[in-house]
């Protein structure tokens, strides 16, 4: 077997508490399908037959009852972990180390993308890489986020990603938070890769191909708890460290005498480096290919640990971890899904005006003289007469009484919007009731 897929669905959704306080993030509906259905669909389309899903008990229960999850034909091996949130992604990988038998493809549950996955995996295969990941050019979210007054400044820390001339080899990765006194690049990297492109506007898709040796390394190094935050920068730095580049016997002896304290880490660090068998070495020596030119070193500068990145410049790639991203994803979900936008069991009256990019869920009832544009309406929702819904996300089981005007809102499950309510850019929580004739702008109601 070549690759095992692992879906990380235990995340809390800490950046959109309004939506996730009732529904766990993996089960938030996007395009009327649970959020975690989308990466699972991507894996299924590409040809995976089994996925290990790491999630919480609550999500597992919801998964077993959700009819959309039954559509997933792959075998899902669900591993539950505690919900206290102390377990990072790397900890989770360590937890399932026994199940991992080959190289692993880690996907996050909030990834919605239509990337051609073979681009990432080909980098992993062709260069015998230790890590291959996916990144995408970030799109600005232009829609007003409901419930927030004024445009929220991007207070998020930027990520600095350095790639080489070809744009495929990952040379440098750091978050602004870690770079207190400026961005410093080691001379050894500059000597090997004199031209480096540093990009900041990239979104990390949290899709990683990791060698099995990395999982074993994690098992030995219990201090690493997050893949993105700690493991990745470590691997990227390790590409250029001296120990991985001169594994000759003399140096080994020196290193080992000096670092006896970290004796265990030393040996497992060397394990990460793709220890090529002698035949592969012979083939590489005889091959007249080099990945760079201009200096005297062989292909890959003799480095055994290599990290690659595929940067998408076209196509969809969203990580649904903020409210703005959630809304954007819902907007585009209709493009991603192959199913018809209107579920066959929905009852839509003839005098309803429906835009082409709206999605109506199962068993909905939409009455006369309604207008639904650019919106997503969940299952079992009732929309009465003369309602105007634009640019909104209505989740399951919502009742919208007559004459409402809903623009740019997110209305969570089982809410009731009273007659004649006028909501603009509002966020209505689960089970809430908006009183009749209420007029709200940019309000979050819980």
């Amino acid at each position: 077997m070549e690759l095992q897929a692992v879906l990380m669905a235990a995340g809390g959704g800490s950046r959109m508490p309004d939506l996730t306080y009732n529904t766990p993030k993996p089960m938030l509906p996007v395009g009327n399908k649970p959020l975690m259905w989308h990466p699972l669909n991507l894996l299924e389309r590409v040809g995976f037959e089994e996925v290990i899903v790491i999630t919480t008990k609550e999500v597992q229960k919801m998964m077993s009852t959700d009819p959309k999850m039954k559509d997933v034909k792959m075998k899902l091996d669900v591993v539950c972990i505690q919900e206290d949130g102390d377990m990072g992604t790397a900890d989770a990988l360590r937890h399932i180390q026994q199940k991992i038998k080959t190289d692993v493809l880690v996907v996050s549950c909030d990834l919605i993308t239509d990337v051609a996955l073979h681009e990432v995996v080909d980098l992993f295969r062709a260069h015998n890489a230790t890590l291959a990941m996916l990144m995408s050019k970030a799109h600005d979210f232009t829609e007003t986020v409901p419930g927030q007054k004024g445009k929220k400044k991007t207070g998020e820390q930027r990520d600095f990603v350095g790639v080489d001339q070809s744009g495929k080899r990952l040379l440098f990765m750091a978050n602004e938070a870690d770079l207190e006194d400026g961005l410093s690049i080691r001379k050894s990297i500059m000597r090997k890769h004199p031209r480096m492109h540093i990009k900041t506007g990239l979104v990390d898709a949290h899709l990683y191909c990791l060698k099995k040796a990395v999982v074993d390394f994690l098992a030995d190094n219990k201090s690493i708890s997050s893949i993105r935050g700690e493991l990745l920068p470590y691997l990227v730095r390790k590409q250029f460290s001296k120990t991985t580049n001169c594994p000759k016997s003399k140096d080994d002896a020196d290193d080992q005498t000096q670092k006896t304290a970290d004796g265990s880490t030393n040996s497992t660090e060397l394990l990460i480096c793709s220890r090529d068998e002698p035949l592969l070495q012979l083939a590489q020596e005889r091959s007249c290919w080099n990945d760079h030119r201009g200096d005297m070193s062989e292909a890959y500068h003799g480095g055994k640990l290599r990290c690659y990145v595929h940067i998408m410049d076209q196509g969809l790639c969203y990580r649904v971890n903020t409210l703005a991203a959630y809304i954007e994803a819902n907007r585009l979900a209709s493009k991603l899904l192959e199913e018809p936008a209107v579920h066959p069991s929905a009852v839509i009256s003839e005098r309803c005006q429906m835009g082409p990019d709206s999605i109506i869920g199962a068993q909905c009832q939409v009455a006369d003289k309604t207008s639904i544009k650019r919106s997503t309406i969940g299952n079992s929702t009732t929309v009465k007469e003369k309602v105007k819904v634009t640019n909104s996300i209505i989740m399951h089981g919502v009742t919208i009484e007559e004459g409402c005007n809903i623009h740019g809102c997110v209305i969570c499950s089982n809410a009731v919007i009273g007659r004649g309510a006028d909501l603009k850019y509002c966020l209505v929580g689960n089970g809430q009731q908006i009183e009749a004739e209420g007029k709200h702008r940019l309000v979050s109601r819980f």
Partner: protein
Amino acid sequence: MAESGVTDGLCNTDDIERSKTEGKELTKEEKQRLRKEKKQQKKNKEKNDEKTSHEGEKKKNKKKKEEQPAGSASQPPAQPSPKAVPAPAPPPPAAAAVPVPASEAPAPADKPAKSKADLKAERRARQEAERASKGKKGDVGQPAPTGKLKAPPSELQPVVKRLPEHVQVDNPEVVKKLAKKLERQQIPLRSDYGYKVSLFSHLHQYSRKAPLTQQLGIPSTVIHPAIVRLGLQYSQGIVAGSNARSVALLHAFQQVIRDYTTPPNEELSRDLVNKLKPYISFLNQCRPLSASMGNAIKYIKKEISNIPSQCKEEEAKIKLLNCIERYINEKIVLAAKAIAKYSIEKISDGDVILVYGCSSLVNHILCEAFEKKRKFRVIVVDSRPRLEGREALRRLVQKGISCTYVLISAVSYILPEVSKVFLGAHALLANGYVMSRVGTSQIALVAKAFNVPVLVCCETYKFCERVQTDSFVSNELDDPDDLIVTRKGKTQLEHWQKVPSLGLLNLVYDVTPPDFVDLVITDLGMIPCTSVPVVLRVKNVDQ
């Protein structure tokens, strides 16, 4: 698999099927009986064929379905025997070998022919009249009538050489057959890219931006992951060079053998060979196989088939792995040492040696000679678009050899300084021609004009039984987009596809006639170019 498919078609094997379904292991007698019955069936069918068709119209029809050997018009007596006819059999990846009456007869092809015998008889008579009036057509499609009459006794005919499919890309039937074969093996078909220059329209031309893995599922289950990786490395050029490709291929086969388990009711010697066939097709799709790879594959297949059936699986696997190690050691590593030893005798102090491109063997020789304290300097000639000379330059300079670097356009200016030319080879053909990187024949020609000796270094495992006198018949077309270059921000050829009268040609190989080559240095010694068939004969006798 193909074999079981045939058994199903030949429904005389009910009891064997029963025993198979019951899970009983077929005993040796049953297997022999099965084989005999298959042969009998085939003979009966042929007899029926000949009864109903005097001239073997059916065979003509079948031939129309299959590809036509281009040169076969001149060999009517050697027309494919009835056994060979219904056996398109996965065309050999290497050009040399040829399917002897394969046991995988496509029985379905025979059956509809039989049932429409009467219509065929009428059509036959009409066609005979037409042909008699038109006279014998010497073209590709029509086998001569005399060939048919000789068909019945021609079961014992010698092996017929057929054109490999990879040089018949403009023949739609061949392409269809290939597509069918690939579908059967569950391997995606790689589509050609861009406009092909008409002289080379019979060859495949692929784009590097459309790898075969696009159409494969990601955790590849049909093809072993080591083979997928290898195919990717071939198509992206990460493993390039005849020796490197062979070594990488054998390494991948080692991993396949390690991960292989014999299914029940199968023999390792047969099943493993069948398992390797789709892998070889896949690698062929990624990049056409080289002659050295073809020979390596032949060797492996022979070794696998020679495994005695009573050998246990673990022993057999270890034996095969050792065979592979030994092959690489003998044919590549030790051969390189032997060739270096011979070549060093030919390098004297004060020599100016010209090399072309990056040949791993020539680089090895030069490095060895330098270590043995010979004083010489090297001129590295390079050519676009591959610019492999840079890599050769790097390796030689790293050792400390003083080098000059020129492009191939300067070769006639620099040759007066040169005392010898060392060339590497991709393959040595049976008529003494040297197949090597495109540009080699150019260098040899100019060197001949300047009376500079040309020495070709080549291991014996690269000798192949093919015969070629020009570079058109069989070659490889690389990605045409490699020729596009961006200078000062401008890419002139960026939209070459939109210009209807423009074609980009990126050839990979060319053949050098033996008149331009003065000596071939092999691990068996230093031989003239024309002695290649002798070596081949000696090798075959050995084996």
